[in-house]
Amino acid sequence: MLQEAIFSGFGGQGVLTMGMLLGYAGVIEDKEVTWMPSYGPEMRGGTANCIAIVSDSLISSPIISTFDSAVTLNQPSIEKFEYKVKVGGNIFYDSSNTINPPTREDINIYACPVSEEAIKLRNSKVLNMIMLGAFIEVTKVVKMETLLKALEQVLPERYHKLIPLNKQAIEIGMGLVRK
């Protein structure tokens, strides 16, 4: 198994966190993982992205130009990465917030209304977790339970009360793409 993914969106949407959580979960499942952020001015707003690679064997380059999956949380990200998805790969986008959705016919397009779903949960901050749920449901790179374990590791104790909400978000995301 090798999954080379890019997560992209506005700074503050939690795209770096999505990739990072995937990395933590990968390590818990004893997989090889690499997470490469775009760092610098993007961190202070603007479009941020990170590459996350999860693999059963050693990962060569942390820098790649085409992806198995692109997770795009805003319009500029779709425009930037739709054509960098490998044939047969996946693109996930926030269908509640996009004017021009992806159009390629040789990839799988997952329209996920994550902003709407997050509002329903009364917490717009969990939109990234909803999307992450969709991502793992399709790609199967890590299990949901592992993601939750990773959350437990990463979140300081005082935020552990938010784990059930995150679990709910992931489950909603998984449901969005379940056929």
């Binding site: 993982v33 690499t34 060569s60 380059s61 820098i63 790649i64």
Partner: protein, 355 residues
């Protein structure tokens, strides 16, 4: 077995420093390596009693390193390109006074203030002696978060063994990226008793002094001979490199650090297309793995050297192969990172389509 963790390169480096029983860190913030000082300030002193001090400048930091290293302590500093330039005077003094210490350069794009994005433009500065006079640093080039950890331990060992400054030459990407990493267990902080260390004149014995000043040229030449002899031993015994597919290689890709890692992907893509590409990745940039290049040069058709600079290590590769094979170059500069596809295209341009 140590702990397996998912860590950022800079944080893994810092954690390794604590675990290696480092006595003191002196540093100054600069992107992309500020996490080091932040991590140590948070973790180090409370765990091992290690001294962590934010200096007023890189100039000051490297001289604090000089002072503490002169007391026989295990010490380290880190910075990024412009800051490392400021440290060059101090490094020259440290090399001349034969003090052990470890320095990491999380290389960013230059010249000048440049950019905070990753680059490898400091190869010449690191490998050829960035300060004044004839000296070398031992230069280790990690290509993964794991090697950031491994080279801290190795770096301290080599520094102590040769009484020499050792540099870890990484780049912004390796500092910023997160990977799975296995950490070695916490080591004891060792109380050393070096005869040369200035720890207070021992009763009934001569006092010690640390200096790089020898006004008599005869004496200064002698010091130079001592240093050169040491470098010769390193060249014979401390060379480290990673080689892939040398058995069937018709071509080589070569590079260090992150560029080498991307090359491995390009090599895999090339091999899938039927090109017999091998790979040499120097892990020690000084001492440079000259012999392995010389050995394979006569039986290969060409080498593509890939770096994130305008072509620096390529000079050492060319010196090593002594004209016995073609050496071509592909590089990106100023913080741009080459992609595997780009590398393969350039390989094909030079060796497949052009030949």
């Amino acid at each position: 077995m140590g702990d397996v963790k998912f860590m950022k390169g800079n944080e893994a480096l810092s954690e390794a420093m604590i675990r290696a029983g480092c006595d003191a860190y002196f540093g100054y913030p600069i992107t992309p390596q500020s996490e080091v000082l932040e991590y140590l300030a948070r973790e180090a002193t409370k765990r091992t009693g290690m001294v962590v001090l934010q200096a007023e400048s890189e100039v000051s930091a490297i001289n604090m390193i000089y002072g503490a290293a002169g007391c026989g302590k295990r010490v380290m500093t880190t910075s990024s390109s412009p800051g490392i330039s400021l440290m060059q005077e101090g490094l020259s003094y440290i090399a001349s006074a034969e003090l052990p210490c470890l320095v990491a350069n999380i290389n960013r794009g230059g010249p000048g203030l440049g950019t905070i994005q990753p680059a490898q433009g400091d190869y010449f500065q690191s490998v050829k002696g960035g300060g004044h006079g004839d000296y070398h640093l031992v230069v280790l080039a990690p290509c993964s978060v794991q090697e950031m950890v491994d080279y801290v331990k190795l770096g301290f060992e080599l520094a102590d063994k040769y009484r020499t400054p050792v540099m870890i030459l990484a780049d912004g990407a390796i500092g910023q990226m997160m990977e799975k990493v296995e950490l070695f267990p916490q080591m004891e902080r060792v109380v050393t008793d070096y005869p040369w260390a200035t720890t207070g004149r021992p009763a009934g014995k001569d006092r010690r002094y640390i200096t790089s000043l020898h006004i008599q040229p005869e004496k200064m030449e002698e010091i130079n001979h001592t240093l050169q002899a040491k470098y010769k031993v390193m060249q014979e015994t401390e060379v480290r490199y990673q080689a892939l597919h040398l058995d069937d290689a018709e071509y080589l890709m070569t590079g260090f650090g992150l560029a080498a890692r991307i090359c491995i992907k390009a090599m895999e893509l090339g091999r899938a297309k039927g090109y017999k590409i091998g790979m040499i990745r120097p892990q020690t940039l000084f001492p440079f793995p000259t012999k392995i290049y010389a050995e394979v040069a006569p039986r290969i058709k060409g080498i593509l050297d890939v770096e994130m600079n305008a072509g620096q290590m390529i000079e050492d590769v060319r010196l090593s192969v002594e004209g016995k094979t073609r050496v071509e170059f592909f590089g990106r500069m100023g913080g741009m990172i080459p992609s595997p596809d780009e590398i393969l295209e350039n390989f094909e341009k030079y060796f497949i389509k052009g030949s």
